[in-house]
């Protein structure tokens, strides 16, 4: 049911771990639905993401999307990282089964939540970044997906 890339990122996830003093950290999802992602970002003084780490409670797709998301944001500026959408994560994984698309939304949300934390800590505003939502089902992207 999963692509080879998903299986690869699930079996050998990249960047699993924690950070002692992250520039930004965000936790999204809830245990009720069976998915929780926590993403840590280390961002340098130029606003470039030097390192990303994650911990995820969830299914194979949730772990694979977390892993891919950390790879995609590493080396990018904060502004570029905002463009790592759920679609980008999904494409990089050669697609996800329809019932697992929400996992990719969770990955996007996790990046945004960590960036939001970074912005709050440094009292800066990141253009286009919205505060993280409690529930993934409240996001615009989720509704768009549901309509599709």
């Amino acid at each position: 049911m999963y692509s080879e890339k998903v299986m690869d990122h699930f079996t050998n996830p990249r960047n699993v771990g924690e950070m002692e003093e992250p520039s930004g950290v965000g936790t999204v999802g809830n245990a009720k639905c069976g998915d929780i992602m926590r993403m840590y970002l280390d961002i340098d003084e130029n606003g470039v993401i030097q390192e990303a780490k994650f911990k995820t409670f969830g299914c194979g797709a949730a772990i694979a999307t977390s892993s891919m998301a950390t790879e995609l944001v590493t080396g990018k500026t904060v502004q570029q990282a905002l463009e790592v959408t759920n679609k980008a994560v999904m494409e990089a994984l050669d697609g996800l089964p329809p019932v697992k698309v929400h996992c990719s939304l969770l990955a996007e949300e996790a990046i945004h939540a960590a960036l939001w934390d970074y912005a709050q800590k440094n009292h800066i505003e990141i253009q286009g970044l919205k505060p993280p939502v409690e529930d993934i089902e409240e996001t615009e992207a989720y509704h768009e997906m549901a309509e599709e």
Binding site: T27, G34, C59
Partner: protein, 395 residues
């Protein structure tokens, strides 16, 4: 990976070679339609009646009380819908439990849309139905009680005899979905006051696509599949002769081996449970500790999610199942696990292992060793586990 360790026998079982052998001639040689008049078809008809005898003998029923169907789900649908329609003048109320198979639950929900009323009775933390609640739910309009014999996920065996007595006392029909129990536990429809019973062939090393319904003589009930006059006008459709022969052969074999098999499976299952509970931290056993199917073990591992666990087991050649939402295609974990009071996040981390008489101690040892590694690995990735450890260290 060449090895296959099949531990999902509640999902389906392998067809027994002996059963297969008995079925074979009815595909190619004795293919006549059992309803035809010529003597060539007589052999097929005779084989079906022999199978019916085997089933009746296993259940303590009469031969003319056994009806062959297309499987357990069809039997459940038939029992519930046909009773509802046949007895709608008497009442419109049905009692069932919260942990039934979807073949029963979704049928009841469908009837609710048509104006029937259904009470879904709670179970305790072991998954045993609350008899007092069941009694209190009885109304003058109650026409049917449907409670499963044993649960497919957590293995808990229900107090069927007691429920049968309650039903009889109140002159209410009693149906039991015995798909998981048939061929695995002794059943006597008279002693247990069962009016209707569903069972399936492929759970007892028989073929898929064939089931039975036991229907007590005297119960007024219409046809479910309309058409020809097969099965005493109650279930139309040309007989699935090889399937029915296979069902009969599997029943005979299951009956002969039941005691010994149950003992073997139970010992090995207890060994598995003991090792898992002792060697893996933060685990909970789901279902009753003793009143459970001999081959069923069900655990919840905290801080991890079931689908990840299943994929990692699969990579080691181990087949098992989970009540996690991700394996069901919905956002909610198994209704059975929620009904026994598990919080969502713990229900998501469940694992069902169901043994067979072919399962070996070496396989169980291998599974436990792999489980230990996989669970440790998944926990090392889990933010829930991090939070838990931090909480613990602050205490």
């Amino acid at each position: 990976m060449n090895q296959l360790i099949y531990l999902d026998n509640a999902a389906t079982t392998a067809l027994h070679p002996e059963v297969f052998q008995r079925m074979q001639p009815y595909f190619t040689e004795i293919y006549g339609n059992p309803s035809s008049i010529y003597s060539f078809s007589g052999k097929a008809k005779k084989a079906i009646e022999e199978a019916r005898c085997e089933v009746a003998a296993f259940l303590g029923a009469k031969e003319n009380e056994i009806y062959f169907t297309g499987g357990g789900s069809e039997s459940d649908n038939w029992a519930i819908k046909a009773t509802a329609f046949a007895y709608r003048n008497k009442g419109n109320h049905i009692i069932t439990s919260k942990i039934e198979h979807h073949a029963v639950l979704h049928t009841c929900e469908y009837l609710e849309k048509l104006g029937f009323e259904v009470s879904y009775i709670d179970v305790d933390e072991d998954g045993v139905i609350k008899l007092e609640e069941l009694k209190a739910a009885i109304r003058p309009t109650t026409i049917l009680i449907s409670v499963m014999f044993a649960n497919n996920e957590i293995g808990t065996i229900q107090p069927i005899k007691e429920i049968g007595e309650i039903a009889k006392e109140h002159k209410i029909l009693f149906h039991t979905d015995a798909v998981q129990a048939y061929g695995h536990l002794p059943i006597d429809v008279n002693e247990m006051n069962i009016d209707m019973l569903s069972a399936s062939g492929h759970k007892i090393n028989g073929p898929k696509g064939v089931g039975i319904m036991y229907l007590r003589n005297g119960v007024r009930m219409g046809s479910f599949v309309h058409g020809g006059a097969q099965e005493r006008n109650r279930r139309a459709g040309t007989h699935n002769t090889p399937g029915i022969v296979g069902f009969g052969a599997a029943t005979k074999l299951a009956k002969e081996t039941m005691e010994e098999r149950a003992e073997y499976e139970k010992n090995l299952r207890d060994y598995l449970m003991e090792r898992v509970m002792k060697e893996i931290p933060y685990v909970k056993l789901n279902g009753h500790s003793t009143l459970r199917l001999p081959n069923n073990a069900n655990f919840s591992f905290r801080f991890i999610e079931g689908e990840s666990l299943l994929i990692m087991l699969d990579q080691k050649g181990i087949c098992a199942s989970s009540g996690s939402a991700c394996t069901s295609g919905s956002l909610d974990p198994s209704h059975v696990l929620l009904s026994i009071g598990l919080p969502h996040e713990i229900a998501h981390g469940s694992l069902r292992i169901t043994l067979s008489k072919e399962t070996t101690r070496e396989e169980i040892d291998f599974v436990v060793e792999e489980l230990k590694k996989i669970i440790e690995r998944l926990r090392s990735m889990s933010p829930l586990y991090d939070d838990f450890l931090k909480e613990q260290s602050q205490k």
